[in-house]
């Protein structure tokens, strides 16, 4: 196959041996995407459990720290696998992703959801002793859960939107 000489970093990534191998293979992209889906539903499913506890809507017979201990390792495992597979999908069509508004929005939302998590962990969570077993945690906890749920839903939407719009932007 003949490919154009890369003119920027994204094209260099896309036309690298690994990028081309994934793009040219009949099964690599769908297979990586399948693992991406398996990982992301694990992230969504376990975050939903934690956020509903933070909202006081479910698992209220368990301490917040207990629900966190049960779910968080699975959330992180899922996230790491989704990030690795997502990166592999990205490098196969890097320049198309980099001009796709839904991809760029999705990356921006990861920053927002990460900041929300950091603020919750380092500020709000400091007082967890006071509301660990509370069936209805303080407003700051509920707000963090609402922000998390809403942004993750929009992230899923952006992920699907990318699949329907990749290649229509130039």
């Amino acid at each position: 196959m003949i490919y154009p000489e890369p003119t920027n970093i994204w094209e260099s990534i896309q036309y690298s041996p690994m990028g081309l191998s994934i793009a040219e293979s009949l099964w690599a992209f769908p297979m990586i995407e399948t693992v991406h889906v398996m990982a992301l539903v694990t992230v969504i499913g376990t975050i939903l459990v934690m956020d509903l506890r933070m909202l006081g809507k479910a698992s209220t017979n368990q301490a917040v720290t207990q629900v966190s201990a049960d779910t968080l390792k699975w959330t992180w495992l899922g996230f790491v696998v989704a990030a690795i597979t997502g990166t592999l999908l990205f490098i196969s069509k890097a320049s198309s992703y980099m001009i796709n508004p839904y991809f760029l929005t999705k990356m921006g939302l990861f920053v927002v959801v990460g900041l929300n998590m950091l603020y919750f962990h380092f500020v709000t969570y400091k007082t967890v002793d006071q509301w660990d077993s509370s069936a209805s945690p303080p407003q700051a906890v509920k707000t963090a859960a609402i922000i998390s749920l809403l942004i993750w839903i929009v992230i899923v939407f952006c992920g699907r939107a990318i699949g329907f719009t990749l290649g229509i932007y130039y």
Partner: protein
């Protein structure tokens, strides 16, 4: 523009295992094309719901978002229940309490999965119904639903009878892992419906 020849490893296109699987799936799809399913699929494309789904660009992606979120809810609940069966989560609660928390999420999640899935079939009936992977997925989904029903009922009954001393049998542990594997296989089929030739 400069053009350059680039060396690309060709392992991607010459995977014998995938060739054999594709050939097998395609032979089933070829047979499906000779059945009444083809006429039925074409009939669906002319319904007003199908036309509504395909003429509005965002309907299919939005149906898929509901599908994925519901899979997250149901699979996450299945995962937490499985972890409790293995004594790896929520050990401060009885199995019955954990079942009460998560089992409704499995079934309501499944309801949303089925409804959003029906919308997706209506939008693209030929790609779905004249497709071997779709029917394999439906078959495995059916097995998973009935196995889940039986497994959850049996494990709840045994746990209730044994009280606080209850610990899952190795058979129950194996079945719970099998259910996770079946869910993952269903997701595999779900993604491949879009990629196998029809």
């Amino acid at each position: 523009m400069h053009l350059a020849m680039r060396q690309v490893p060709d392992w991607g296109n010459s995977c014998l295992m995938f060739d054999l699987i594709f050939d097998f799936l395609f032979s089933i799809t070829d047979w499906l094309r000779t059945t009444v399913l083809l006429d039925f699929a074409f009939w669906i494309t002319e319904t007003s719901l199908s036309l509504f789904m395909v003429t509005n660009f965002w309907m299919v992606p939005i149906a898929q978002v509901f599908h994925i979120l519901a899979i997250g809810a149901a699979f996450g609940a299945t995962l937490m229940f499985t972890l409790r069966v293995h004594g790896k989560a929520a050990t401060d609660l009885s199995l019955e309490q954990v079942a009460g928390r998560y089992v409704p999420w499995i079934w309501y999640g499944l309801l949303v999965i089925v409804l959003s899935g029906l919308l997706m079939i209506t939008a693209e009936p030929i790609r779905n119904m004249v497709n071997a992977v779709f029917w394999i997925k439906m078959l495995v989904l059916l097995v998973t639903v009935f196995l889940s029903l039986g497994f959850i009922k049996s494990v709840r009954t045994k746990a209730a009878a044994s009280g606080a001393a209850w610990a899952a049998s190795s058979g129950a542990k194996t079945t719970s892992i099998l259910l996770i594997v079946l869910w993952l296989f269903i997701m595999l089929c779900g993604r491949w419906i879009a990629y196998v030739p029809v």
